[in-house]
Symmetry: C2
């Protein structure tokens, strides 16, 4: 198993990315290729004793900054770290890649260089979100494509189903379309058309679901337009933070509530772990002919390590092979 | 001040609605018209001692159930409580209405019967959401219109600005467009066009904002398509509930954390009040030629009382007059 890691991408690059790669190389039996400025990465690696020999460096002359336009920078910067990662997949040097950098740049680089799987019209980013239920809910797409057609939603559902069955290990996961009401007549035209397509599919389609159903564990896979999914993701992340801050302010108001908070700390910590993005192993960019895991921009070393493990799982369980089969099967 | 209250609308109708009306009539100097089944409402009112004489009943022969189609039911049920409320405004019998019933039915009834204000192409529901900042953020539209054009977003901004200045009492509130990135080049075509319109306006336009900016208090007014706004609203509501449930489960795991939770209870209660929808006085349906406040479907008596007060404020501060002026001024 060989995995390229975009060492220049993310708020805490390259330090946390390199540390995550070191953690992964120590824990798992993968060969990891750190992609980025070789001098910078060499000096980063020197911070560690006993760097596993399974970690190597592949030089990249530039990288895409978060404030750059994805399409323009990928076209201009041929030697950007995220582009080189995709090149390494294409050349068969690695089996998968992980990046915590500019999401749009990763989407553009992978789509251009790796192309899409046969039968897939648009890639989709699938994120696993914590719920009240037994397993996470997968939301797809959270920002790869904002020009969504009914067939895209249908293909997201097929890909999400494969992800769920092989990675999250649940047979016949349920699929819903994110809508503003449960009735079949609700929503925009493209949603109504996607409804028809999914009704005819072999998937366990449960119809429309609402915003509240994403986190209550009522449905396993929720498909939506990338614009809506991206907003949902950012709103969700911020609310957890806002509630935490408001609660902290309230707890500080009296000595008794402060003592209470101190005693209750193990519960707060457990909750934090439960909703911690870094446990979730990043979000696969589904639909491209290659394995790319997009990790959160603020990824720490643990998040990167988990994303690397997730990337390896996508290779091991041949997810893209299963997506191709699912598309063929449903087209019959 | 005369306010019609749809006594048949909402999860807790008619009990909580009637109680809210009684509370409002006792606290404020309004004349309140309860609209609904007169026998039912009479027996509800009999539960209270000293019902203020400012409360009267106006009979409505039917009401719109939550699972009905808005357009069809409003056309068929001429005597539905929400329709009668709008009729009463149109006939000049009342100055405003409050409903916690079927949101779509309220939008259709008000749009058909009251018509839109001159210069407004689509109504928008504006909801005030709690933030980390000093004042709430107004999100508009949260579901009145899902076929959104650039001019609609522009008009939402104008209306939200009036709402903020006269009701929330802040001069030159800032306005942002909800998008998936802050750069001007991001997002769909209609958002880019709305960007141009707002740039040329007299409003305090700050450009694109992201999902996370709704709750961090960075911007006062966020305009968006009703589909996205509706999903954001439902996701936000559910996350607060999910976090609460997860935390409760964690707190129950040991006697010490349970004791901590007990001591910290005042802080939890204060937080609950802070993010409690029932404190926020309902969401105005802006753009119709009349005053309609839509209250949460699960409204309790307090929420209804606050919505009635909010409706009175809209009349008192002549919000619709100011919206007409703002549209004229910005058209110059």
């Amino acid at each position: 198993m060989r995995i390229a890691v975009d060492a220049m991408g993310g708020d805490h690059a390259p330090q946390q990315i390199v540390e995550g790669a070191v953690l992964a190389a120590r824990e798992y039996d993968y060969r990891i290729v750190l992609v980025g400025d070789q001098n910078l990465l060499r000096s980063e690696l020197e911070k560690y004793k006993d760097v596993p020999s399974s970690i190597t460096i592949h030089h990249a002359g530039s990288f895409v900054r978060m404030d750059e336009s994805a399409a323009i920078s990928i076209r201009k910067k041929k030697d950007a770290s995220v582009s080189i990662c995709a090149d390494l997949i294409k050349e068969g040097v690695v089996d998968a890649m992980v990046t915590a950098g500019h999401t749009g740049a990763a989407v553009v680089a992978c789509t251009l260089k790796l192309r899409l799987l046969e039968g897939v019209e648009r890639p989709g980013i699938a994120i696993a979100l914590p719920t009240l239920g037994e397993n996470p809910t997968i939301l797809i797409d959270v920002g790869a494509n904002i020009d969504t057609k009914p067939t895209h939603l249908y293909q997201y559902a097929l890909m999400g189903d494969v992800y769920f069955r092989y990675i999250l290990r649940k047979n016949r996961p349920s699929v819903g379309i994110l809508n503003i009401g449960e009735e079949e007549t609700k929503g925009t035209e493209y949603i109504k058309e996607a409804h028809q397509l999914l009704n005819k599919s072999r998937l366990h389609f449960v119809g429309n679901v609402e915003g509240r159903d994403i986190f209550n564990g009522k449905v396993d896979i929720v498909v939506c337009d990338g614009f809506v999914g991206n907003v949902v993701l950012k709103v969700s992340e911020s609310i957890a933070g806002v509630i935490g801050k408001l609660l902290k302010a309230e707890l500080k108001r009296s000595p008794l509530t402060m003592l209470g908070a101190l005693l209750a700390k193990p519960a707060f910590d457990a909750l934090k772990r439960e909703i911690d993005y870094s446990e979730y192993g990043g979000a696969p960019l589904l639909g491209v002919d290659g394995n790319c895991i997009i990790s959160h921009g603020s990824s720490n070393a643990k998040a990167i390590k988990n994303a690397i493990r997730r990337a390896a799982e996508f290779v091991k369980y041949e997810i893209n092979q299963h997506i191709l089969e699912a598309i063929r099967l449903n087209a019959e």
